[in-house]
């Protein structure tokens, strides 16, 4: 293949080619070809720079009889047999084929640099079309456009064959995107909140009817996920949003998950992390292993719970790391591994830190929102490592904004929509809209002025402040309130 392109590119005079000689494209070797990581080529491989024209050319080999075009010379030769024309198949030369890598001709592209060349000709062709080409292929069922025909075909196969539907009405053809969406969907929150008062189904960790779902899920995610698929799952999750928590309560967990608003920006991790993304799939198996029991314990009956079961089981979401008490040990080990952190090759700890922080958060999420009794029955929590401070602040901001509405439910529903990546500005608008309730105190006045003049930097936390103001008032009213009543039930200790 490269051979022919070399010839044609020389003919066109546009490409600079560093190879010479007539070599056949390497036939399929029996041994599995060693694959370099994408964008990090073998240092002693040959770099080939082709012109855009060459890359986009198709069907250069034309049959003289019927004018049928072929992409490869060999295909043309085989076709010529059918016309009873003389044909000759070129053999691969006996000397070892040098590994070739290709650079993208587009100057502004990352892969234009030889050190980031791609190892596959087809790959670079597709890359060039996808990133720097116009999208000529349009899906007829939906409005999506593609530059590469194979992408378009792959899409058309699944377009319309949606399998997953969220309660809010959105449809998904992919399980992982569906799961991620459900983590943030507020429609779920309302439904679960309503269902909250129902008695909990028994959620003891049983032998796993769903354990078989795990290998499948693993398989799903281990197969090289396209970057967009993998990245969104960890991306929102990296905010350390308290995603659905522990085995106990599907309903409450879904509430929590919905309370995690899509604060995460839409910006996916930059492309130089394909390594990380691929590593996410095989991410700590031990962690996932822990999930299976809790997975089963969650998935009882209702479809919403099973969705969460799969959510827990999905390694890409790295929520799967979320569940078990044995976590803390793994966590400290990983933290120490991170501390040592001279091992660039070992990516697992880094990717695990995300799951871990989620894990911890989810455990606590449930403890805050769930009934304490359930918690106690589920497991005796050892001292849990903590949620990240950023996540705590975001949670507090949500709670604060919610509190000003004097109803957490309404608050969450209100917050469900379109939070921008930076929690502050969006919450500010929300907060400005909500009335400051409670009697005006000096504190509230000050805050009112301060925020109007300076512009509240973090609306949610400001709202929390106003709720503090109102809380103070309540404190005065409830001065003789005994502390004991609250402690056991509400704080959710175990």
């Amino acid at each position: 293949m490269p051979v022919d392109l070399d010839n044609s590119s020389i003919a066109s005079g546009e490409a600079s080619v560093s190879s010479s000689g007539n070599q056949n494209p390497p036939p399929k070797s029996t041994a599995k070809k060693k694959r370099n990581l994408p964008g990090m080529p073998d240092p002693d491989s040959e770099v080939i720079a082709l012109s855009p024209k060459t890359l986009l050319a198709t069907n250069r080999f034309v049959c003289e009889i019927c004018n049928k075009g072929f992409q490869r010379d060999q295909n043309l030769q085989l076709h010529r047999r059918g016309h009873n024309l003389p044909w000759k198949l070129k053999q691969r030369s006996s000397k070892e084929v040098k590994k070739r890598v290709y650079v993208c001709p587009e100057l502004t592209c990352v892969h234009h640099d030889p050190s980031r060349a791609l190892g596959d000709l087809t790959g670079i062709k597709k890359h060039f079309c996808r990133k720097h080409g116009e999208k000529k292929w349009n899906c007829d069922k939906c409005s999506k456009k593609y530059a590469v025909q194979s992408d378009w075909k792959a899409h058309s196969k699944i377009c319309g064959t949606r399998e997953y539907k969220c309660d809010c009405g959105t449809l998904f053809s992919r399980r992982d995107s569906f799961i991620t969406h459900r983590a943030f969907c507020e429609a779920l929150a309302e439904e679960s909140a309503r269902a909250q008062t129902q008695p909990q189904p028994q959620n003891q960790a049983v032998a796993n009817p769903n354990s078989d779902s795990d290998p499948k899920v693993h398989a799903l995610d281990s197969s090289p996920p396209s970057a967009p698929a993998v990245a969104p799952a960890p991306a929102p999750v990296q905010v350390s949003a308290p995603t659905p928590a522990a085995p106990a309560l599907p309903q409450s967990t879904s509430v929590i998950s919905s309370s995690v608003l899509p604060i995460q920006s839409s910006e996916l991790p930059e492309n130089p992390t394909p390594i990380v993304e691929e590593a996410l799939a095989p991410a700590p198996a031990g962690v996932n292993g822990n999930c299976s029991s809790s997975t089963s314990s969650v998935s009882n009956g209702s479809s919403s719970s099973s969705a969460f079961a799969s959510l827990f089981a999905s390694p890409t979401a790295s929520v799967s790391a979320s569940l078990q008490p044995p976590q803390p040990l793994a966590f400290t080990d990983l933290i120490q591994a991170m501390g040592r952190s001279d091992c660039p090759a070992d990516l697992a700890p880094s990717t695990s830190t995300e799951p871990i922080s989620l894990c911890l958060s989810t455990n606590h999420g449930s403890s805050i929102f769930g009934t304490a009794g359930q918690e106690r029955r589920q497991y005796a929590p050892p001292p849990q490592p903590a949620m990240s401070a950023t996540a705590l602040l975001q949670k507090a901001a949500q709670m604060g904004a919610a509190a000003t509405n004097a109803s957490l439910l309404r608050g969450f529903a209100g917050l469900g929509l379109g939070l921008p990546c930076d929690g502050s500005s969006g919450l500010r608008e929300l907060m400005m809209g909500t009335p400051v309730f409670g009697p005006k105190q000096a504190t509230l006045d000050f805050l009112g002025l301060g925020m109007a003049a300076g512009g509240s930097p973090n609306g949610g936390l400001s709202a929390l402040i106003t709720s503090i103001g109102s809380g103070l008032d309540v404190a005065a009213a409830a001065a003789s309130f005994g502390g004991g009543d609250f402690t056991s039930k509400d704080i959710g200790r175990s």
Partner: protein, 470 residues
């Protein structure tokens, strides 16, 4: 839990906290506090911090004291991120309260020993444990190398010459230049002579090893008192200026100017009046700057003479930038924090710094063990001190006036600097460096002709390059 208000027993934890936090009837040690799980504790700490700051801001010290007491039960410099943050934030708030009694404050702080060696160590730790300075180093050096292509005489001015690593790397890169190394002069500015001596030693050693004509000029001076003449910039040499986390301290003197011009008699740092006044003036000045931007390029602050505050508004930082512009540098590299910690009210600054330092503390939590003494030192001696400065100090004392990148861009533009996009190759190196940190949380974003390093979407540091615009 998400039930109607009717069931008061299972009301939200937040309301519980509100009710409980300031009711002194709970009795002094709060045993239930110790049993809180870490997330709840974290949320409660945030709540308490906000409450406390609120009280400090309004001057209700009794209530502030109660809140501090409660926080002290939960906060700890050895605990989880939120506990650590709470420890330093409350220290800052307490410091702020104490400043209302200047005698008391001075008495408590007069015997403090600050070891230069410890400071140097903490700076080194910050350099090593976080990628920020390293990324800045890579981008800066690459920009310098590219700008100085073909130059025979290169002069670098480092506004805070504390870390030799950067210039060592530059020396090595310059010696590998195809056209051979230039004659290199580095002028380092710092307040402590020992640091400059150490730097001179390291750099001359390196240059001699690589056989590069090299000269190091130390200048022991505070940045705000810098005498431009001392820099001895010569004609014919190509000048590059590097400012790493230095410019924001120059914003500190402005409050003084404003206060002098306005009849305020308050020395009370907790006073609402001062804050309101400052707030008013800051916004006017801000508007001033923005107005000038809107009206097109105003090459110098003098054109702002149309507005009332102009007579005072020879802002320290603007005059400093003008002085630098006067040196005709070929390139100026500015690395700054990208957070707004310069709000005029305490609450504004508290809220913003909560988010920023949460991100920084999270970085440490994700990469260093809790038992690490180094981590403790960085948290206490670097972040803790910054937080204390941001929250407890006002006026000329408050040096940590971090501002958002957009404001810096405006200022630099106002001072006739034009943005230079950062080198693609430099970006590549910087990204690789970030990847090498093996931590998903760090992200690099480009935009506005600058690079911003974020932790989980929270922008923390920005790096940009500038040239003189005539």
């Amino acid at each position: 839990m998400f039930q109607d208000e009717s069931s008061s027993v299972t009301s939200s934890p937040l309301q519980v906290f509100s009710m409980m936090s300031l009711s002194p009837n709970l009795g002094s040690p709060y045993p239930w506090l110790r049993e809180l799980k870490s997330e709840e504790r974290g949320l409660y700490l945030i709540h308490l911090l906000l409450t406390c700051a609120n009280h400090v801001a309004t001057g209700s010290l009794e209530n502030a004291n109660i809140a501090l007491e409660q926080i002290s039960q939960l906060a700890s410099p050895d605990g989880d991120t939120m506990q650590r943050m709470a420890a330093y934030f409350t220290e800052a708030l307490a410091d702020r309260i104490l400043k209302a009694w200047p005698g008391l404050h001075k008495a408590l702080n007069s015997t403090r020993i600050t070891l230069v060696s410890e400071e140097v160590l903490v700076r080194k730790l910050f350099f090593e444990m976080f990628p920020f300075l390293k990324v800045a180093l890579v981008l800066t050096n690459q920009a310098i190398i590219e700008a100085m292509e073909g130059e025979k005489m290169v002069h670098i001015i480092d506004l805070n010459a504390a870390e030799p690593a950067q210039w060592i790397a530059l020396i090595q890169a310059l010696s590998a230049r195809p056209e051979g190394p230039p004659h290199l002069r580095i002028t380092g500015i710092h307040q402590q002579k020992e640091v400059l001596d150490q730097m001179a030693h390291r750099l001359t050693e390196e240059a001699e090893k690589l056989d590069i004509p090299f000269q190091f000029n130390p200048i022991v001076s505070k940045l705000e008192n810098l005498d431009i003449e001392k820099l001895r910039v010569k004609t014919g040499e190509a000048l590059a200026i590097s400012s790493v986390l230095q410019l924001h301290s120059l914003l500190a003197s402005d409050d003084e100017l404003i206060r002098k011009k306005l009849p305020l008699a308050s020395n009370n740092l907790n006073g609402i009046h001062l804050q309101r006044a400052l707030q008013m003036n800051q916004s006017t000045l801000g508007e001033l700057l923005e107005k000038d931007m809107v009206n097109g390029y105003s090459p110098s602050p003098d054109s702002a003479s149309s507005s009332p505050l102009s007579s005072t508004a020879s802002l320290k930082v603007d005059s400093f930038l003008n002085a630098l512009w006067g040196l005709s540098p070929k390139l100026m590299l500015v690395t700054e924090q990208d957070s707004n910690h310069n709000g005029s009210t305490l609450m504004e600054r508290l809220l913003e710094s909560l988010y920023s330092y949460a991100a920084l503390f999270d970085c440490l939590e994700s990469t260093v063990s809790r038992a690490s003494l180094e981590r403790l030192k960085v948290e206490k001696m670097l972040f803790g001190e910054e937080i204390k400065n941001i929250l407890a100090c006002e006026g000329a004392e408050r040096k940590e006036r971090h501002e958002k990148l957009e404001k810096w861009i405006q200022r630099l533009d106002l001072a006739c600097f034009g943005n230079v996009p950062l080198s693609y190759y430099g970006m590549l190196q910087a990204r690789r460096l970030l990847q090498g940190y093996n931590c998903d949380g760090y992200k690099m974003k480009e935009g506005n002709g600058s690079v911003v390093i974020c932790w989980q979407d929270r922008p923390l540091f920005s790096i940009s390059a500038w040239r003189c615009r005539k």
